[in-house]
């Protein structure tokens, strides 16, 4: 039994480590700040071939080329802004994961809030109307009495008072 447990644990460890078995080229920067910049940039930029992955993860050849280009620009001393501009001017805003807040993306940004407000308003209106309906029913329909009439309420009060006295 112990052997089995050990094997299972070993197997899980191997699976966990497989994420480190990356086949990507290794960029080593002499400056740890540059290393951090490279990681940040490649994490923040979209791969245009495998469009749900960032440049750090993607195995596409274009992603490898762009990683190489970014590393080159970092080593040449270019600031982050310049690197991002370089890519956006060639590939457009889509290479950034963050959609800009411009006229064509207003709907994308504002729709959730608008729908939330709309939903809450509808909910509010429905509750108010339902309330009114219940009140109307109780007050304006002489043929239909409320669940417990005034006379019956009095009777219940009396019975409860009597029970209290008997205690």
């Amino acid at each position: 039994m112990k052997i089995i447990k050990f094997m299972v644990l070993l197997g899980l460890l191997c699976i966990a480590c497989s994420s480190l078995a990356d086949n990507k080229e290794l960029y080593v920067f002499h400056n740890p700040l540059n290393q951090a910049r490279f990681t940040t940039l490649t994490d923040k930029l979209r791969c245009l071939v495998c469009q749900n992955q960032n440049l750090a993860e993607s195995n596409a050849p274009l992603a490898a080329d762009l990683r190489s280009q970014i590393a080159k620009m970092i080593n040449a001393g270019e600031p982050n802004n310049a690197i991002i501009n370089y890519l956006v001017s060639r590939y457009g805003e889509y290479i950034l994961y963050d959609p800009p807040f411009i006229k064509s993306t207003w709907i994308l940004w504002l729709a959730p809030f608008v729908l939330l407000v709309l939903g809450l308003s509808i909910l509010f209106v429905v509750i108010v109307i339902d309330n009114r309906k219940v009140n109307n029913l109780a007050e304006n329909s002489p043929g239909i009495s409320p669940a417990i009439s005034k006379a019956e309420q009095e009777q219940i009060k009396n019975v409860l008072a009597q029970m209290e006295e008997l205690r």
Binding site: V49, L62, D65, R90, Y91, G92
Partner: protein, 180 residues
């Protein structure tokens, strides 16, 4: 308040029709298409050796003075193989200046290709590293740029050119650009 009642009943139908319309439209839209960031801008740097004759250097000058097409292709790209006959047909039926950008290819393989399947291109730039293609915002082959007489990029076809695209989109655009 009878109409309120009818409105509540028909609301699911209205929502369905509304959603259905947009989903129907969505069937024709390819969400992976990235529109070119270079539209209406001057052509980026194009400084490549010719595929066929490495002693000849091609530059942006090849785009000046006439309407041009730049087709990005490679022998390893299956879709480019599908597009090739269309390019050959366009080349045989028109006098448009069609240039090629051979993207990250093997020179000998590419030369074998054009000797076997024909050469629709006026000139082919050999981009071994793919760096020139990055300057043009290329992210997947085949891609084709329509460039006007003043070397301004006017249109980009993402994916293979079909006869349909040629007749409906490209030919009218090219005729328009040639007139002005």
């Amino acid at each position: 308040m009878r109409y309120f009642h009818y409105l509540k009943i028909s609301l699911p139908l209205i929502i369905f029709l509304f959603l259905g319309y947009f989903l129907w439209r969505g069937l024709d839209i390819d969400p992976t298409v990235v529109p070119s960031a270079l539209l209406n801008q001057k052509t980026p740097e194009f400084n490549l050796l010719s595929l066929e004759n490495p002693h000849i250097r091609l530059s942006n000058k090849i785009f000046l003075g006439h309407v041009s097409l730049l087709n990005v292709w490679a022998t390893w790209c299956a879709t480019c193989a599908d597009e090739y006959p269309v390019l050959m047909q366009i080349h045989s039926e028109n006098s448009i200046a069609l240039y090629g950008l051979d993207y990250k290819d093997n020179r000998q393989t590419a030369l074998n290709w054009i000797s076997k399947f024909g050469n629709p291109y006026q000139a082919i730039g050999f981009d071994k590293t793919g760096n020139t293609a990055i300057n043009w915002g290329v992210y997947g082959t085949p891609e084709t740029f329509v460039i006007d007489k003043n070397s301004i990029i006017r249109y980009k076809v993402i994916g293979p050119i079909t006869m349909n695209i040629w007749q409906k989109k490209l030919l009218p655009l090219i005729n328009n650009l040639e007139r002005n």
